[in-house]
């Protein structure tokens, strides 16, 4: 079985992100593998352990994204490919999806393409479905459990989280899978894995390697800003007993007219 995992490099979730002089900055916080994509890597590796074959991590981004690819290699992915091209700076999600779809086609014979739920920088959560549509493959999103992959019968059965609970779906292969946190805690890179990853050669594909023209972006971001500071005056409630505190607090909350 051949799987691709699409991963993105993002600022760490604990980073203090602010806009300074119109530019987004996160100080000296590290760039990391998008946390949701760690779950995608985990899911791909678990299937690989069960069915063999290979797992190829791909990322579209700048040279630094190789670090995120190395994390994926250290976790156990077999190959990593960076897709990088000056023409892709500022690309919107559907343009990224066109590039990822082209890369998945170039890799060839892919059974499953794993994605995270969303990238924690742009918080879009759309790229996996757009990629699936471009490939003409079914999209299985918010996947919590992979019950069965049958590469020979070209089938996969999953459980998806929806507002109302879980939906159990069987799909033809190839398919795009976007996983949720329920899929299982991502493994830590092993010591051996880290050593292997540090020596790995990560090839870079340009748009001409993919054989496509730079895709046009249609969504623009004319402005990015710090949210208006909320003036919160915290009022601490105290009292002689829990009952007294509770009664005071109830009155205060009722005065806010939110109930």
């Amino acid at each position: 079985m051949k799987s691709v995992v699409c991963i993105k490099q993002v600022p760490d979730s604990a980073a203090k992100v602010v806009v300074e002089g119109g530019q987004v900055t996160w100080g000296d916080a590290p760039l990391v593998l998008n946390p949701w994509d760690e779950y995608a890597v985990e899911a791909a590796l678990v299937q690989n352990e069960a069915h063999g074959g290979e797992v190829i991590a791909i990322s579209m981004g700048g040279e630094s994204a190789k670090e995120a690819l190395k994390t994926a290699l250290a976790m156990g992915c077999h190959q990593a490919i960076l897709i990088s091209d000056a023409a892709l700076v500022g690309a919107d999600s559907q343009a990224i999806a066109r590039v990822l779809a082209a890369a998945i086609k170039k890799i060839g014979d892919v059974d499953l393409a794993f994605f995270g739920r969303q990238a924690i920088d742009g918080d879009m959560g759309v790229t996996y479905a757009q990629t699936a549509r471009l490939l003409g493959w079914p999209v299985l999103s918010y996947v919590s459990v992979i019950h069965e992959v049958d590469a020979a019968a070209r089938k996969v059965k999953v459980e998806r989280s929806i507002e109302e609970g879980r939906q159990i779906v069987e799909s033809k292969l190839p398919a795009v899978l976007s996983v949720s946190k329920d899929i299982g805690e991502p493994r830590y890179p092993s010591f051996m894995g880290i050593r292997k990853a540090s020596r790995a050669e990560i090839p870079t594909w340009s748009l001409s390697d993919l054989g496509i023209e730079p895709p046009a972006s249609v969504v623009r971001w004319p402005e990015i800003m710090n949210p208006p500071t909320r003036e919160i005056t915290t009022e601490m409630i105290s009292g002689e007993s829990p009952q007294e505190i509770a009664e005071k607090l109830v009155e205060k909350i009722l005065e806010e007219k939110v109930l």
Partner: protein, 349 residues
């Protein structure tokens, strides 16, 4: 002359019941109409969609479409998106609105490819500038806000739950929903729905106007004696479940939902469905009561836009107090039951 908007709203529904947030899209549509005029169409798909389409008239739809063909009986993204894209093309819509639900986000993405456009997901505000919609959306887990503009039509937007108010339903407004033919046959669809397992009963977190959340702090009530025969981890989970019962009692008196921190979820105290935060649900209730939660930045990402935040924590230095309108430094095991009792008395329940 500025062209008018032709807005198509996707009403997200499950087995004949619209998700309440779907109606909020009519509030969003009104705000667009107020600035550029135009008309509002609605579409609902799947079993029960005719009644849902009927209901759309009450909220201001001028035309409502539905398709309850057997191939659409269960939600499947491919045929649903194909159906919506086809109608959007036929009607020449310039704006396509979806709720930010699991289905809405995914359908918006698929339709964006069908219609040669892009998506502006999870908008919390809309304005019109030079005849184009400018959507404001939180990025970096709400640490920043970004404005987004789509340069081609249809402008596809998903609207965050509770960002807009649903107009009051007016039963005197009505019409006849138009039935659509299925755009894809069953044979063309590559997936099959085998069934469902239901979520835990209770108020849905994202729709809730009141949320009471528990964190790691709910697990350490020293005055409880766990049943014998439990190992240390089981005893901890047992204690935590007693703690979450107190949280649940308070939520139930307030008609609210139960949330949790990731620490509580990862420790096995409560299922992931309840997790609030960056890798859980993003919520913005009118009232959020955090009990035994320290307020890590990833937790804040999920609840910071709540209207009134109340924090109960025994550590006066906990970061959660910085967000809180009201704070109590103390033991949640005595304070939460007292609060439940006080609300019960005061609200006459």
């Amino acid at each position: 002359m500025m062209s008018e908007a032709k807005i198509l709203i996707y009403i997200d529904q499950f087995q004949g019941h619209a998700l309440p947030t779907s109606w909020e899209l009519f509030g969003a549509a009104q705000s667009i109409q107020a600035q550029m005029g135009g008309s509002v169409l609605a579409i609902a798909l799947g079993s029960g969609s005719q009644a849902v389409a009927q209901e759309a008239f009450h909220y201001g739809a001028e035309q409502a479409f539905f398709c309850a063909a057997s191939s659409l009986e269960d939600y499947r993204p491919e045929p649903y998106a194909t159906q919506i894209s086809k109608l959007a093309r036929e009607q020449g819509v310039s704006v396509l609105l979806f709720p930010t639900t699991t289905r809405g986000r995914e359908l918006a993405s698929l339709c964006s490819i069908d219609l040669g456009s892009g998506v502006m997901p999870d908008a919390i505000a809309l304005e019109v500038n030079d005849g184009r919609i400018v959507a404001t959306r939180p990025v970096y887990a709400g640490k920043l806000l970004s404005k987004a503009v789509c340069q081609v039509d249809p402008q596809i937007i998903t609207i965050r739950v509770r960002a807009f108010k649903a107009p009051a339903a007016d039963a005197s407004r009505s019409g006849s929903p138009i039935s659509l033919d299925a755009a894809m046959s069953d044979a063309e669809i590559l997936t099959r729905v085998e069934g469902y397992s239901a979520a835990q009963a209770g108020v849905s977190l994202t729709d809730a106007s009141v949320i009471v959340s528990g964190g790691r702090g709910v697990s350490n009530n020293p005055s409880l004696t766990p049943p014998s025969g439990l190992d240390e981890k089981q005893a901890e989970v047992w204690r935590a479940q007693q703690g979450f019962n107190l949280i649940r009692d308070l939520a139930s008196v307030l008609g609210g939902a139960v949330g949790a921190s990731r620490a509580a979820v990862d420790a096995g105290y409560i299922p992931y469905e309840h997790q609030v935060g960056q890798t859980g649900k993003v919520v913005s209730p009118d009232l959020y009561i955090a009990c035994g939660i320290s307020g890590a930045i990833q937790h804040q990402a999920g609840m910071r836009s709540s209207k009134v935040i109340v924090a109960i924590n025994k550590d006066a230095e906990a970061p959660i107090f910085k967000l809180a309108r009201f704070g109590v430094v103390g033991d949640l095991f005595t304070l939460v039951p007292a609060l439940t009792e006080a609300f019960r008395k005061r609200l006459g329940k």
